[in-house]
């Protein structure tokens, strides 16, 4: 047998590789065979293709958006007139908890990560994501966590404690039954999923960029993905820890949040918001990445002041960790605490403001085409600026204390989250729809639904500012007549019906376009990024040859031909690793084949987590099947190693 050292020095040469002698249709056939999924339903479940996983994430997240949207419609129906008894106070508590929890944990973060999983490897010019099985595992965990929450809701044991689940309401004394446990364990599922994706994306961005794609040449969306992934890595352990503390307070009698036994309910608020404030930016920064890509393409020029935009993303990512206490102004703080967190909350608007000016300058300097994705960008800028400005003013403590827990805050965060994230997302879906499906979305339907969403949104949420200033509290299932709240609430309810109809129209457009939309050319918008080098939709292997990049806008600068490297294996899954800063070709890396183990491991972990809601022993006994599944996942399936490394 060859020694390890000899093997390391002399890779075999008699292996088929892409290159001048193996290109075109013959290469495509071989690569398609190597990178395809196994046949049948089991093969479908075993897929580790980042495009499959990204698509599954996006579709599942959109289903959760629809479910949470239905709950929003019920809320608006209940609040459309004073003293309404359409739903009871208890049911209302469950509904607003499910709405907020679903939107934040099951829609907003996963849909952004789904887009990142799908798009990032294509934008970077690589054949797969860094840890495809881990990414597959993350999807199954996310699906299990979301299903747990919704099955519980349907069985009438859904949480009723608000999306931030403050103790003592969620603690053992007041949170009776299993409602709070289900909420806390759902958090564990989604955090594991998000963290796994964040690690995969970070490694992909740092190690798998196309040769020549130095960090300063990376697409801005990839920068946004890198920053958000690092934010996930630094913020989500906090909520995973604190939700575990809440579970253990409820299940095994720890006393973290019990003031009678030296605990403190504010500990929850600190640990929760240390995660949940950055989470807002984890949702928002990918959206700014969409905006940068869309603005450049539709303005037909490269983005103005690229370094400022990148630095703004990084600065926002860092500043986001210094703001969490502004959610706790009403709990009482030392004076210096008030001053610091007010200053930090105002400061974070500066990098975002810089990005907005950069986009406006790019549009100004370019030759803008007002197609649907660009319309969403304009709507985003208008809406987000309004939401941002209300954010800046409530950073001031006296105003915050006045408006805390009123509908003004509800208006503010819907302006920043829907305006700041959902509008760019709808633009991004329209923009990359040909990449996902090979077909264009209908322009006429797209424009109609855009105007309905944009105007309906303003009608739904602007009056909430007024209701909040009049003193209407959040999370109260009804309100009395004669306080000036009737008109703003009625307008909001009408507006939300318009938004619901518009979203339905958007979905109809998607379905219609998938089935019978106009076929897309490879680069239908004339965009500059690498994801448009390959066909629509891309083949399983993404790129027949790995492209070489020499600028930030490779397709605009390439001319008739594309420079590529060659020499990767075609009969085994192989990637090219490049150096972290300068993206020099460095290592040939095997990529994992499809396997059922991520799904099996996710099932084992799910059984453990769900049972641990009822007994702490489940944690101990549940680790056995989970460990077996993980070892089987890792263990090589052939008795002797292949001539060159594979991951079977």
């Amino acid at each position: 047998m060859t020694s390890a050292l000899e093997k390391a020095k002399a890779p075999p040469t008699n292996v088929p590789r892409d290159g001048p002698d193996l290109t075109g249709a013959e290469l495509d056939d071989k690569l398609a065979k190597t990178w395809s999924n196994p046949p049948g339903f089991i093969g479908w479940l075993s897929s580790v293709d980042h495009k499959d996983i990204g698509r599954r994430y996006i579709i599942t997240a959109l289903v959760f958006l629809a479910l949470a949207g239905l709950l929003a419609a019920v809320i608006r129906l209940q609040l459309s007139r004073p003293g309404n008894d359409f739903i009871s106070a208890q049911r209302y508590n469950e509904i607003f908890t499910m709405h907020g929890t679903t939107m934040m944990f099951l829609f907003a973060v996963p849909v952004m990560q789904g887009m990142q999983i799908y798009l990032t490897p294509l934008m970077l010019g690589t054949r797969s994501i860094a840890f495809p099985r881990l990414t597959a595992f993350s999807f199954w965990m996310y699906l299990a966590g979301g299903s747990l929450l919704w099955v519980a809701f349907i069985l009438n044991i859904g949480p009723d404690i608000g999306w931030f689940a403050y103790p003592p309401l969620s603690g053992p004394q007041f949170g009776i039954g299993k409602r709070a446990d289900i909420w806390a364990q759902m958090v564990t599922f989604t955090e594991i999923a998000a963290l796994a994706v964040a690690v995969s994306l970070t490694a992909t961005i740092l190690k798998q960029r196309a040769p020549g794609m130095t960090l300063p040449r990376m697409p801005i969306f990839a920068w946004a993905t890198l920053v958000t992934s690092l934010m996930v890595i630094f913020s989500m352990p906090s909520v995973a820890l604190t939700s575990s503390m809440l579970l253990s307070d409820r299940l095994v009698g720890t006393q973290f949040f019990n003031p009678a036994e030296r605990g403190d309910v504010l500990l929850w608020q600190h640990l929760f918001w240390f995660f949940a404030h950055p989470e807002v930016y984890i949702i928002f920064l990918p959206a700014t990445g969409f905006v940068s890509e869309i603005v450049a393409t539709f303005s037909r020029r490269s983005i103005v002041v690229y370094p400022i935009i990148v630095l703004s993303l990084v600065a926002t990512g860092i500043l986001a960790f210094g703001l969490w206490v502004h959610h706790m102004f009403a709990t009482g703080l030392p004076r210096v605490g008030y001053s610091f967190y007010t200053a930090a909350s105002i400061a974070v608007s500066v990098p975002t403001g810089l990005q907005i000016f950069a986009w406006i300058a790019t549009i100004w300097e370019g030759r803008p085409k007002m197609q649907v994705p660009m319309l969403y960008v304009i709507a985003f800028i208008i809406t987000f600026v309004i939401g941002g400005l209300t954010g800046v003013i409530i950073a001031a403590v006296p105003l915050d204390l006045q408006l805390h827990d009123t509908y003004f805050i509800v208006a503010h965060f819907h302006y920043v989250l829907i305006g700041g994230a959902v509008f760019p997302l709808l633009g991004a879906i329209t923009y990359w729809f040909p990449k996902f499906t090979g077909r264009m979305m209908s322009d006429a339907l797209g424009k109609t639904s855009f105007w309905m969403i944009f105007l309906g949104f303003q009608l739904a949420f602007f009056p909430m500012h007024i209701a909040g200033i009049y003193g209407m509290p959040r999370r109260v299932y009804t309100y009395p007549a004669g306080m000036g709240l009737e008109l703003p609430n009625l307008l909001s309810s009408i507006g939300s019906a318009v938004v619901a109809a518009a979203v339905l129209l958007f979905v109809i457009n998607m379905v219609k376009s998938v089935l019978a939309g106009r076929k897309a050319k490879p680069n239908p918008w004339g965009a500059p990024g690498l994801e448009w080098v390959t066909s629509c939709p891309p083949p399983r292997y993404n790129f027949a040859h790995i492209p070489v990049v020499e600028s930030r806008t490779p397709l605009w600068d390439a001319g008739e031909t594309m420079q590529v490297i060659h020499g990767l294996r075609v009969e085994d899954r192989e990637l090219l690793l490049t150096t972290v800063l300068s993206a020099e070709p460095d290592v040939r890396e095997p990529s994992a084949k499809p396997a059922p183990w991520p799904l099996i491991a996710a099932i084992a972990v799910t059984v453990m987590f769900v049972c641990s809601i009822f007994s702490p022993w489940a944690v101990l006994f549940g680790t056995v099947p989970a460990t077996v599944a993980l070892v089987a996942w890792f263990w090589p399936k052939s008795p002797v190693p292949d001539p060159e490394p594979t991951i079977s």
């Binding site: 890595i233 973290f256 640990l271 090219l576 290592v587 263990w635």
Partner: protein
């Protein structure tokens, strides 16, 4: 590919493995270290948050933890870095035989540490449900025990794998190298936790 390719560099000669930051899995492991490190940091923050509200720490009348088991654990843990460095260096010099000889020692040290850890739980002088001080002590110790346990299982699996013909594959030596890197993280995170469990409750009585 929709544009005609112009072939530049042939990458067939590149290696199929690399150590340290050139390896893809190294970045994955660093990512998970940061995640676990942040979880520890937040647990430590919770510790100080609870401590800041007390007149004395450990709160009266609870006795601080007895430190024999914990100190013994710490000494063994620090000494474990010697065989750990040896196996890391053996992996980096492609010495499969030496890796195979050293791995059982690493596994045995893990068993010893897990036994000592059992005694540590018994020497905290408080149970997790008595008050928040007890809860946070148990949490810190439990979190680190999960750390030791998962790394021990990893090491056993790797040891068994290295004994097969797959052990000759250079990428498995990269795995061994990264497993040793992770062990460094495990003992480094223990040092502040050791101080917080055994010494801070003595110093702030």
């Amino acid at each position: 590919m929709n544009m005609r390719p112009t072939f530049t560099r042939d990458v067939a000669e590149l290696p199929t493995h690399a150590f340290s930051y050139r390896s893809l899995t190294w970045w994955g492991i660093i990512g998970f270290m940061v995640i676990e490190g942040v979880a520890f940091a937040m647990a430590i923050a919770a510790y100080f948050f609870l401590m800041s509200q007390e007149q004395s720490w450990a709160p009266q009348p609870w006795e601080p933890p007895s430190f024999v088991a914990g100190t013994l654990f710490t000494i063994v843990m620090l000494l474990s870095e010697i065989p750990n460095t040896m196996v890391k260096k053996a992996a980096e010099s492609y010495d499969v035989g030496r890796v195979r000889r050293l791995m059982p020692w690493i596994v045995a040290i893990g068993v010893l540490l897990l036994i000592l850890r059992g005694f540590e739980f018994n020497s905290l002088n408080i149970l997790w449900y008595e008050n928040a001080y007890g809860s946070i002590l148990w949490t810190l110790l439990l979190l680190h025990t999960v750390h030791i346990g998962t790394d021990w299982v990893d090491t056993v699996v790797l040891w068994r794998l290295m004994k097969t013909p797959h052990g000759e594959e250079p990428r498995r030596l990269v795995d061994t190298d990264e497993n040793a890197l992770y062990w460094r993280f495990v003992w480094l995170t223990w040092l502040p936790i050791y101080a917080l469990i055994y010494w801070v409750p003595r110093l702030f009585r």
